[in-house]
């Protein structure tokens, strides 16, 4: 039995529900061992308007079942991205979304305008886990008004599908999710990394040069499943689940919890073919439980 794995995320039709997460797949040009047939979409490494050098090493620390990273959004800036990658993306048989980042709502808007209509760019994912310099460095994603402002700034300047990637370190993710939906998001990605710290007992300083980093990997999965579920309960646009997916069963937890699709990040570091294995494992689960398509999978999504 072949299972129909296609999903629609807003206007984007994806051949499968397993996507490569931003910052863990470069610009889609590395990872030679992946069976790309299984790739639903790629979200490229987050970029700013201008090139950024990133943070000094150490940039990563392993933690129990997880890792902290502080890459500092190293990247070529939007012009470099368009110049070096977009034309390649236009040739691929799966969509590439660009993860966009800014220090002001206006910067997000400018990025959206610049990327609008560029062949190869299939959509935008707004990373709102960025410090808002106009609001004294608080993350955009921590405040429903700031999150909505960024979403609106992007929405106004592009016809591309707009996804908003939520930050997990909030009191009530449902409030932020609804604010982004109301501001015009086509879908939500839940969630980005949690802020963490690790101390080196030799230097008695943080191990990361940036002091703190974002925690990813299986350690956060139960938290991510809960937050993605809460977001899915709060809105009627699709939610893409992410956080600690290593295998198909992990992805299925997010799908059952109400997500339309999933993204795989850290797992690709460990197993370059992780995305294909997750994809095939989901298909096998569906087949063995008698479902002809992913759409038939029953969801656990009580609405209060």
């Amino acid at each position: 039995m072949t299972v129909d794995m296609a999903v629609e995320v807003g206007e984007l039709r994806l051949r499968g529900p397993v996507l490569a997460a931003s910052g863990t797949f470069g610009y889609g040009t590395e990872v030679p061992l992946l069976e790309r047939r299984a790739l639903g979409a790629v979200v490229s490494k987050g970029i700013f308007l201008r090139p950024r050098a990133g943070t000094p090493p150490p940039r990563i620390v392993e933690t129990p079942s997880g890792m902290l990273n502080a890459i500092g959004l190293q990247g070529p800036g939007v012009e470099g991205l368009i110049r070096d990658y977009a034309a390649q993306w236009a040739q691929w048989d799966f969509p590439v979304l660009v993860n966009i980042n800014g220090e002001t709502a206006a910067e997000y808007g400018e990025l959206a305008a610049r990327l609008d209509g560029v062949p190869g760019v299939a959509g935008l994912e707004i990373n709102i886990s960025c410090p808002n310099v106009e609001q004294g460095g608080l993350y955009f994603g921590n405040d429903p008004r700031a999150a909505a402002a960024v979403t609106e700034a992007v929405r106004k300047r592009t016809d591309l599908p707009v996804w908003v990637k939520l930050t997990p370190m909030v009191t009530d993710i449902g409030v932020i999710a609804r604010a982004c939906e109301a501001a015009g998001a086509d879908a939500l990605t839940a969630i980005n990394t949690f802020v963490g710290m690790s101390i080196d007992l030799n230097t008695r300083q943080p191990r990361l040069s940036f002091r703190t980093g974002g925690l990813s990997g299986p350690a956060i999965r139960p938290l991510a499943v809960h937050l993605a579920h809460q977001a899915a309960r709060a809105v009627s646009i699709p939610v893409i689940g992410i956080g600690g997916i290593m295998g198909a069963e992990d992805a299925l937890e997010f799908l059952v919890a109400g997500c339309a699709a999933v993204q795989v990040g850290t797992a690709t570091f460990v197993n370059p073919n992780a995305i294909a294995e997750v994809h095939d494992g989901i298909a096998a689960y569906l087949a063995s439980h008698g479902f002809a398509s992913l759409a038939e999978l029953p969801r656990y999504l009580p609405r209060d």
Binding site: G23, T24, F25, G26, E30, V31, P32, L33, K45, A53, G54, T55, P56, P57, P58, R59, I60, V61, E62, S65, G66, M67, N69, I71, Q74, D200, N202, T203, G217, P218, T266, T268, F269, V270, N271, P272, N273
Partner: protein
């Protein structure tokens, strides 16, 4: 690049606490070049893979050399001959050993000896004479396996060979290759700006997608040790920003 479930087939001790593991990984054994590495994973084990230079190859086998410096290396050394280790590789850029120069010095401190046996083989194939310079704190920690037309030992405490660092024991040669604690490599860079050095960083992926293995460049910005490196021209690195307290340093 290959992803191979490699059976552990042999193990030998080459210095106090320093072991060579042999893994059956044919595709990697046949394609790896000196300075390249493999990223090893196993289960149950840590989340991330651990990078190791390929020490030697023999037929279908690759060898890696290591000491227990943390939980991961301790687990690798606790494995038995029936165990399987997942090998991703070969990864990274190799030493540049094209024919032309007539002599090469392979300079290593402690576990920095790791890429040198393959380098010796390739240098000799390219027609160079090999001077092997290997140092450690004390005689017990010297890797007993050496492979050079000339072999020079160095120990900090003078318990064998030259009393001092490996770097200070290096004679004149056309080319210098070095591997060891980043502090040692910084000293190499001062003396031989054109030396080829293999650096150590923490790595997330080993395949170029995470940007975790940032190597600060003298011209500004960062490179990826796993992709553009781990072999660099010594003077191209900003040594003041590259962390020095990594496992090579612990063990050298």
């Amino acid at each position: 690049m290959f992803l191979v479930d490699a059976p552990l087939v042999a193990r030998r001790e080459v210095a106090r606490g320093m072991f060579v593991l042999s893994l059956d990984a044919p595709q990697i054994a046949q394609s790896v070049r000196a300075g390249q590495f493999v990223n090893l994973g196993w289960s149950p084990g840590p989340l991330l893979r651990r990078p190791f230079s390929v020490y030697r190859t023999e037929g279908d086998r690759i060898e890696v050399i290591l000491k227990a410096v943390g939980a991961g290396t301790a687990q690798l050394l606790a494995m038995t001959a029936s165990d399987t280790i997942s090998c991703l590789g070969p990864l990274g850029h190799a030493f540049d050993l094209v024919a032309g120069p007539r002599s090469v010095a392979l300079v290593s401190g402690g576990l920095g000896v790791a890429p040198m046996p393959l380098a010796a083989r390739e240098a000799r194939a390219a027609g160079m004479s090999v001077t092997w310079v290997h140092g450690s704190r004390t005689v017990d920690e010297l890797c007993s396996e050496a492979d050079g037309d000339e072999v020079i030992w160095a120990t900090d405490d003078g318990s064998r060979g030259f009393a001092g660092t490996a770097v200070s024991a290096v004679p004149e040669t056309d080319v210098v290759l070095a591997c060891g604690p980043n502090r040692m490599l910084a000293a190499v860079a001062m003396r031989w700006p054109d030396a080829q050095v293999a650096v150590e960083t923490y790595m997330g992926c080993g395949t170029g997608v995470c940007l975790g293995c940032a190597v600060p460049l003298a011209r500004g910005g960062y490179d990826r040790a796993c992709k553009e490196g781990p072999v660099y021209r010594a003077a191209d690195i900003d040594w003041s920003v590259l962390p020095a307290h990594l496992p090579y340093a612990i063990s050298a």
